[in-house]
Amino acid sequence: MAEQEKKQAQPAKNDKKPETKPQTKPKNDILGDGSDDGDLILENQRVSIPLTPENATFKRSGGDLVSLDIINDKGEPESFERVVILRSFPVTNPDEFLSVREPDSRKQGRGKEIGMIRYMKDFDEETQKLFLEELDRRYFTPEIKKIMSVKDKFGYLYWDVVTTAGHVTFVLNNPFSNIRILEDGRILINDIDGNVFQILEPSKLDAASLKKIEIYL
């Protein structure tokens, strides 16, 4: 398993296990590509294009996800049954530089970038709603509203909190590195399961809640 993790670099996601086979790289026309350095990894690079309402139409897909029709850089129409939308800066700039990609697949490996949306607000409201739906699902970050208790036992912190996604308990290890305070004052908490919780305005938490986490900040 260690080997598998090494092979698959996953930027922006720490401590995540890769979910698909990393050893499946698409077989491409190698002769057509002269830019490689002599290694065997020769892949046909899709050219990422800027996506605007002019060249890209996002629609709700049959499976209730996001599908896309574009005019690609060669001027040809191309459609994608499903696309994945990733934030380039999920923490600091969530509404700009959205990367629209083919989904990863077990057979073909990592999905390629189809294009990039510079500003989400360039698109009409309906589309923006679709984006947000997809993004909210992908970047599921419940906001902590109230902290019932934080208990330190056997080196783990057991939290009992009320969030925008309901009342949950979660476990943290190493609180001092898994609780991050951002420049704008937000607090991000990564629990042992891989969940991410946030506290948007710590100063607005009730005094009792704040007191329970003060020491970790």
Binding site: K17, T20, Q23, K25, D36, R106, Y156, I192, G194
Partner: protein, 746 residues
């Protein structure tokens, strides 16, 4: 891993009413997220359908037959389980990654099987370890199967007791000493009382010489008791040092031997730091507990108990004065320690951060200077330092206030005694000596209180450490020798028979791989990164056992050959050459400790290493490794080659042995390799095809399958993957060496 969870009653009813008569429930796992809420739902999979159930609702059901694109997707903070049931990719459910991702990865495979053939109703299984306690859902201690909450304490005690065989008598001694100690503690105040009441304060006796003699006797008694007490103390310290040492030595040896004998797979599951922690840290904790804490615990408890009884016997009222504040004091102490611990930990973390930052900056000092960022780095470091200093100051202030207060609280009982005792003395109801005695006892009783609050924490630390140790000791190596393993002399014929292998059983890295190698042949293994080349080598070395099929060497299954015989006759050179700290001679001799100097030189000559070694200041005795002479990549590689060939292995494996080197050095090493490959079966993995120009046959792996197998000429004729690779590299490679290499062979 658990793949069939029990449904709660409500959910079970929902499923029962939905499921058909010919359906068989095969898997059932939880999902946790629905839209923007946390939920406790379940996904139940029968041989025909997937049911998504939340409380008393059937949210959805999907027909598996014919569905495609089953997969999991790791998202930010959660994961999704997807498939295409005909109307496009659909999100079946969303779940928390850390807890369930491995489960769903198995389900993906399971669904793929069912989508093709619904009659395969035997659920697939997976041996991967759970990371959460199945009883309480809390996380296991990292890298282990231990839940500190659900630990069977008695079981651990039994095991540790069994292990202390031979040390038991020694370990009992501190307890005997402890009893003496306690008795001493209580006898001395009694004698002191006598001295005070009858001699010092009794003025009627002053000046009488016979009384003086008696008093001298008392002094002598006190002195000799003290001497005896101290002598016992010395003996105890010495003995506990000896027992502790023996215990640690024993545990470490057992652990280390075990770690060495464990299979690579189980070792790789744990980090180096974790294993080191177990050999050093956890053994230390266990030793400390057994040798120091346990006797101490006994002493404290025993003296507390004796104090209680003696006080009650002397003066029940005074005893009450002592005991009334105790609950309050214990409460105060435990609160106080929680508080102190947290602050200390925070201070420690801030210190660590500063250290880390410093290390980071110093390591990257070239970058810092090149980009002219000194000022901002100074600021960054200052920030960290200031925070650390502030925390330190705050802690000091708090502790320095609380400690004296705590001391005062503990003494409260004594003040009561002082007051009431003096009251009685003034009224002639009590002698001064009695008061002194009672006061001494009060101090004896209070001393253990500070300690008592630590006991639960100490015991739980001890138990956790012990279970971590036992977990390793009790683990069975996955790769094991059979009962009577063969010690064959290997000729070098290798037969790979239809092997399938995956580090996780549901995710095969190699599938149905078969090929045959004659003795003395050189096989070049080619393929994209991640196609299973290194895995094939791992299997050949039997670092892992194949899941299906067999690997035969000279027509003997390698599972029947003793691991020692197998590995001593296979030499391996890896891309990352690891040299141990020690001399070059030691490193070359590693696989054959009894090698003569002549053999060392011979091996070095084969590896083209002899010349550069002699140019080092201390020749073959030059220290290398972390603290030694720093060698270049090519030099290290050649030493590694010498190490691989010193015992004249029949099978030689070169795992990208020259990939990290420049062409000049590669040429040098290539020459040495050519010398080695004569009369040996050689497996060579290489990215640069020129490296393989001497290979008799080439094996092209693609996505875990054998894509092509044959000679250069055959494969070029085939115009398959290999042909394309050669062409691509030829096109790119402008260097003379590369062109020569391929052109000659093509």
């Amino acid at each position: 891993m658990r793949l069939l969870f029990d449904l709660p009653e409500t959910e079970q009813k929902v499923l029962d009413s939905a499921i058909g008569a010919d359906e068989k429930l095969m898997y059932c796992v939880p999902f946790n997220i629905l839209e923007d809420k946390f939920v406790d739902g379940f996904v139940a999979i029968t041989n025909l359908k997937i049911y998504k159930i939340l409380n008393d609702q059937l949210l959805a059901s999907y027909v598996i037959k014919g569905a495609t694109g089953f997969k999991t997707e790791v998202m930010y903070g959660s994961c999704g389980f997807y498939a295409n049931f005909g109307q496009g990719t659909t999100l079946i459910c969303q779940f928390v990654s850390g807890r369930h991702l491995p489960r769903y990865s198995v389900l993906v495979k399971a669904c793929e099987i069912l989508s093709e053939d619904e009659s395969k109703t035997t659920p697939i299984t997976n041996s991967e370890q759970e990371r959460f306690c199945p009883k309480c859902g809390r996380p296991f201690v990292r890298g282990t199967n231990i839940c500190p909450y659900c630990l069977d304490h008695l079981e651990v005690y039994k095991k540790i007791f069994a292990m202390t065989k031979g040390l038991r008598l020694m370990m009992c001694f501190p307890f005997i000493v402890a009893i003496f100690n306690v008795i001493f503690q209580f006898v001395v105040p009694e004698i002191q009382k006598l001295a005070l009441n009858n001699y010092i304060l009794n003025t009627a006796n002053h000046g009488q010489s016979d009384k003086m003699t008696e008093f001298t006797l008392i002094v002598i008694a006190i002195v000799s008791l003290d001497v005896f007490h101290r002598a016992l103390g010395v003996l105890q310290s010495r003995l506990s040092a000896i027992t502790g040492n023996k215990f640690t030595l024993m545990m470490r040896t057992i652990l280390y031997e075990k770690i060495q004998s464990l299979s690579l797979s189980s070792i790789q599951r744990k980090s180096t730091g974790d294993l080191m922690g177990r050999v050093n840290g956890d053994v230390g904790v266990a030793q400390d507990f057994i040798v120091n804490q346990l006797p101490n615990l006994f002493v404290q408890f025993f003296s507390f108990l004796t104090g209680l009884i003696v006080m009650l016997a002397i003066s029940p009222l005074m005893a009450l004065f002592i005991f009334v504040p105790i609950p309050f004091v214990v409460f105060l102490i435990s609160k106080f320690w929680a508080f102190v611990q947290l602050r200390n930990r925070r201070l420690w973390v801030l210190g660590q951060r500063t250290n880390h930052l410093l290390q980071d900056i110093l390591n990257g000092i070239r970058v810092v200077k090149c980009f002219g960022r000194e000022k901002s780095e100074i600021e960054r470091f200052k920030d960290g330092s200031v925070r650390h200093a502030n925390q330190n100051e705050a802690n000091a202030k708090v502790f320095d206030t609380i400690f004296p207060l705590l001391g005062f609280a503990i003494k409260l009982g004594s003040y009561l005694i002082l007051w009431y005792g003096n009251y009685q003395v003034f009224h002639g109801d009590m002698m001064v000596g009695d008061l002194h005695q009672i006061n001494s006892y009060a101090n004896i009783i209070y001393a253990p209180l500070m300690y008592i609050t630590f006991i639960p924490r100490n015991i739980s630390n001890f138990l956790t450490s012990l279970s971590k140790i036992f977990e390793i000791i009790e683990e069975n190596p996955e790769v094991q020798d059979i009962n009577l393993p063969l010690d064959i002399r290997i000729e070098g014929e290798v037969d790979i028979k239809n092997i399938t292998f995956g580090y996780e059983s549901y995710n095969p890295v190699l599938e149905n791989v078969s090929f045959h190698v004659n003795p003395g042949e050189m096989i070049g293994i080619v393929g994209h990164s991640g196609c299973g080349k290194t895995t094939l080598i791992n299997l050949l070395m039997r670092l892992y056992d194949v899941n299906e099929g067999a690997i035969e060497i000279d027509n003997v299954n390698i599972k029947d050959i003793s691991q020692n015989a197998l590995r001593t006759q296979i030499g391996i050179v890896l891309q990352e050459t690891f040299l141990f700290s020690g001399t070059i001679r030691d490193n070359i001799k590693y696989a054959m400790p009894h090698a003569t100097d002549e053999q060392v030189i011979a091996a070095a000559r084969i590896a083209n290493a002899h010349d550069f070694i002699l140019n080092l200041p201390e020749g073959y005795n030059t220290m290398v490794g972390e603290k030694g002479y720093s060698l270049s990549g090519g030099e290290r590689q050649r030493i590694a080659i010498a190490r691989a060939v010193i015992h004249n292995p029949r099978i030689l494996i070169l795992d990208e042995a020259t990939a990290a080197l420049d062409t000049e050095t590669e040429k040098l090493i290539q020459d040495s390799l050519n010398k080695l490959t004569e009369n040996r079966t050689v497996f060579a993995i290489a990215h640069r095809l020129s490296t393989l120009r001497n290979a008799d046959k080439l094996l092209v792996l693609d996505k875990g399958h054998v894509a092509e197998f044959g000679t250069h000429a055959e494969l070029l004729e085939n115009k398959g993957i290999y042909y394309k690779l050669v062409m691509a590299q030829r096109k790119m490679a402008q260097s003379v060496i590369e062109q020569q290499g391929i052109a000659e062979n093509a």
